[in-house]
Symmetry: C2
Subunit: 636 residues, 2 copies
């Protein structure tokens, strides 16, 4: 067992108590102790209270040239709506590596969305004896990154509609005069951000009065086509009534009404920028380059054209620093960027992973989570995130449960909030074996990237020996490097020691280079079809709208970007009900959008909601504050 | 001069550089040094980076029984749209008291709204050599309080529409079963928050199955009347296109469309709750008691009826702790609650003032700012805030400028963003003297509360000796305790030493008790009319809607609350163009709403926008990040 100072000995109880009770039973270490173990000095981080700190990006400059540790990504099989314990396994694995196997380790997790925390799902800090603490701080506000994204996203939205409004009532000349007001000496000038637009327009003049009338028009009039707008407002609340709304109905807006809607904040392109950026300077460019729609002439209009790219960067300047927290066993966690690998990119950030890899150094481990099943989370991790970061993972963990495998083998539907069918509570090896086709495809898809795949079976008390060994056999037969039964939910890191050992071996024995699923320098459709092939589709069908958008983005010069599919997490296919490993289906592409600043094209596969709703009895009914102690109660 | 360790000697430059350049020229002290000077130990506060800390409310328990310092409120005359330097004077006065007069002092300021920071107004950290630093951290995000308010406000909004939706499709019995789902043993139970509603309904049963069908209906069906809803969504962005919107237009919402709108976040009732609460337990009750509208039977429906009062408290649990910052001269500042004394309560928080009064102790000074002119800011400070806090101010400062007095004397209109008329740049004693009627009325109104009034003339370089002494004479003639010319913008605390001495004398020589403008135990109309009288109105005219609402709130038992008028800040009257000290007008009350949780009735005087807009060229054009240094540029 480790002799490290920060390791805390967990006293486990059976049956496992409620998550919040376990979380509240442990007194977290002051986060400066966790930072100190990572050799971070106080000038490397900003404290946010006693148990959170933002690790400053400048750490990366200091460690430049030093070597990285091993890089492990955790994905899953296609989940049930209950979740298969991917975060829990990620945390458990790290508790094992750090607290029992004496390894330097950092867990990289995504910040949960507050919407689902108050809705159906509850929090996302792991569970049982494998959790990030304090779990209320992890689940609520954290260090304000999602709030910063909401503010920035909506400032851009306000800038768009207001600009359209002001352009509709002013002449070119009046617009220019307003945009370039005279200083005290009566001289007009361009602000710095305006030179970005002038450069894009090929105008090299430096003073407003030098512009010809044509140039005034080109510069001052963005001439945004309202029908082309793809930028929506966001909110980190499950507010279904904002999915589709009409704005501008006040009398002062003079009838300039428009249909639009709100998405949940983590679906904002700005979240994807945060996840994929590599430096402050890079973030400034990505935010400025975000395309919000087209001019009536069909040219893309960016945040910098609206003059707001700098302000967005200022709003995001602290959000770029990942948040340091700790597990129940005192190992370090970096929380950064957002979830929702179905409608978004859904991976934690490149900068968090990069900092972590340097901090653990050679022989250490960084374990990062990719959302939902490996078909979407790990696929995006490899083809988008690793492409932009230049980092190479050695091992991919795939988390499976007997419950989900039974569902894939033909078990009855699993519905959140409803009791489980008896098929899930009693031994049924045949159902498990039949469901392993889902696991097998995730293994072979993931192996194709060149990494070693370790299957982690997140064990429940109802699982039988025979069921568990059926999964192990199927996993090895499908090409997994190893397959391990884990009990970290009940036992903390101790329950994932075998998984830790398997992951270590997998990392030490990589024989292949990283390979992507598709090259970038091919058409948008070719890339979509490569991904569809990995789902098992026999073909792709594009709507008229999708065809139009693909043609437009290609013409605008954006075809070289990677692809971020918006697809259900409940099936390899576009139909949530198709369990197992479906083949022979045609994947429908309903629409295609682009996140030019973040750097990807995102096809919408079927209908995906980008704003969850609340049930009749949301989680919030149980949540309250014990005002005597200041402790949060009822958070799950 | 003070020998205190944290006092910093300012090197002033003339002409005064840009605010951001002054702010960036000073290296702030680590906030733990500021805390230490206030005798706060590290367990009394949470750091938020190096220059901000949240002072924990628990400090109040520790200092219980110790004596308060002097309590000074800073109001102003009726301002021009440019602002008369009220925040700047508040900061300058404190720099004088702390850095030059060796007094213990804490400045209590309100957190600025991010909307105007990116719109026309710019930041709100003071100006020149009297500022709060770091000014970018002060103006943006701060420690997340407004973001928490936005999240809580909008969670409640989502809960309302979703509840109406779910009630529309379910029987009473189905609703009850959903609200009280069975546990693993199949037993149904009420959650704690449901007992609040049961108690309100007079139902003392403790298990769902004991309810009669009538009780099931009463309990489970809130039966909200959509037309009665006063709860709106909020956003801390100047987004005029959200002023009036239609929601629920998505196909899943089945035609349940409704007109509503967004206000700016600082106008949320939750901001008023934050400002007026006195403890965590009190905040829990106020948030749960917020009324969002009526049932179809006309009964008020609260956040606790919706099951969400506890969750709102959890979202606000850190926001209740005020944020410690510092002035340019190293004196402590507590930032808490929000601005907008026109459409909101517009004072900093009771808890910040209470903590500050204990920390400075006897002989020390707490200087707190009340928004806009004394007609709205100071009036609400006295009649709402002091009423709830039980605190008694000794001195009220009224900030005046020659510019605003000239406007009140008949000078041409002052428009933000346009050059000033020459009347404002050259001596014109007659115009100043004529304008002093505005100052005189603010003095006599404020004196009537029983405090000593000190007039602070915030001097500009264009002001002449004759103009300044005209104001001083008029102020003394109107009953001011003293009137002082201040140059803190150009000279920092040194320029407000005379003001500091005058304020000290005023505090030491109070002869009268605190008197409110109206008693609480009278009708809503009587209270409105008392306030209207202080404006100079000869009468009040109620719209039919206002009459209806007053009758309803009286019937619902809310007539004993104080009044928070929503009125333009640009005139004593409801018409912004009526300068000076208008009399004989009839004050129109267009509508009356209620903030039951915060604890006041708010009449709408004429038309007040609760969501600002962006101009053609918003401030954000100048704002950017220097990505090499990480410094914010262009913030004003």
């Amino acid at each position: 067992m480790s002799s490290s100072k920060t390791v805390r000995k967990l006293q486990v109880v059976s049956p496992v108590p409620a998550d919040i009770d376990i979380a509240n039973s442990v007194q977290p270490l002051h986060i400066s102790e966790i930072a100190n173990e990572l050799n971070l000095s106080p000038n490397h981080y900003d404290l946010y209270g006693k148990y959170k700190a933002k690790v400053l990006l400048s750490v990366l400059d200091e460690v430049e040239g030093s070597k990285d540790g091993y890089y492990v990504v955790v994905g899953g099989i296609t989940p049930t709506p209950l979740g298969e314990g991917k975060s829990t396994t990620t945390v458990g694995l790290c508790q094992a590596l750090g607290a029992f196997l004496d390894k330097k380790v950092v867990t990289c997790l995504r910040q949960p969305s507050q919407g689902p925390t108050f809705g159906i799902k509850g929090g996302a800090a792991g569970g049982g004896y494998s959790q990030v603490i304090p779990m209320d701080e992890f689940n609520l506000h954290l260090t304000g990154d999602i709030h910063a994204i909401t503010a920035a996203n909506n400032l851009l939205a306000a800038a768009i509609d207001t600009r359209i409004f002001h352009e509709s009532t002013q002449s070119d000349k009046a617009l220019l005069n307003r945009l370039c007001p005279p200083n005290k000496e009566g001289k007009r000038s361009f602000s710095n951000i305006m030179f970005r637009r002038l450069k894009k327009l090929g105008i090299s003049k430096t003073r407003p009065e030098e512009l010809t009338p044509q140039e005034v028009k080109k510069f001052a009039r963005l001439d945004i086509d309202p029908d082309s707008l793809t930028w929506r407002r966001v909110m980190d609340v499950n507010d279904r009534f904002l999915r589709k709304i009409t704005i501008g109905q006040g009398p002062e807006e003079k009838g300039m009404v428009r249909e639009t809607g709100f998405d949940i904040s983590v679906a904002s392109e700005i979240m994807a920028v945060l996840a994929l950026t590599t430096s402050l300077a890079d973030m400034r460019e990505r935010l400025g380059n975000m395309v919000i729609g087209n001019s009536k002439a069909g040219d893309p209009v960016t945040a910098d054209d609206l003059g707001v790219g700098g302000a967005l960067t200022v709003l995001m300047k602290d959000a770029i620093n990942p948040t340091l927290m700790q597990t129940l066993e005192g190992t370090p966690v970096l929380v950064h960027a957002g979830p929702f690998a179905n409608i978004a990119h859904g991976n934690s950030s490149i900068v968090a992973d990069k900092i972590a890899l340097k901090l653990v150094g050679p022989g250490g481990f960084v374990v990062t989570e990719a959302g939902f099943g490996a078909d979407i989370g790990t696929e995006k991790f490899m083809n988008i995130k690793c492409r932009y970061s230049g980092l190479t993972p050695q091992c991919a963990v795939i988390v499976a449960t007997i419950r989900a495998l039974k569902m894939h083998g033909g078990g009855p539907e699993v519905i959140a909030g409803k009791p489980l069918d008896h098929a899930y509570l009693n031994e049924n090896v045949a159902l498990v074996e039949a469901g392993c086709v889902n696991l097998a495809r995730h293994i072979s898809n993931t192996k194709a990237y060149g990494v070693n795949v370790v299957v982690a079976v997140n064990m429940f008390s109802t699982d039988s020996e025979a069921e568990l060994s059926a999964v192990r056999n199927a996993a090895l037969a499908a090409g997994a490097y190893d397959a391990v039964i884990c009990t970290h939910h009940a036992h903390g890191g101790k329950g994932a020691v075998d998984l830790g050992i398997a992951v270590q071996k997998a990392c030490e024995n990589v024989t292949q280079p990283l390979r992507f699923l598709y090259p970038l320098d091919t058409g948008i459709k070719e890339k979509i079809e490569a991904i569809a092939g990995s789902y098992g589709a026999s073909g792709v069908e594009y709507s008229e709208q999708a065809d139009k958008q693909i043609e437009m983005y290609s013409k605008q010069g954006f075809s070289g970007l990677p692809i971020c599919m918006a697809k259900t997490q409940y099936s390899f296919s576009h139909e949530a009900s198709k369990k197992g490993a479906p083949t022979g289906f045609t994947l429908p592409i309903r629409d295609v959008r682009a996140s030019i600043g973040a750097g990807f094209i995102y096809p919408l596969v079927g209908t995906m909601s980008t704003m969850p709703g609340l049930p009749t009895r949301p989680c919030f009914y149980d949540i309250d504050l014990d005002t005597a102690t200041g402790k949060v109660i009822g958070l799950s």
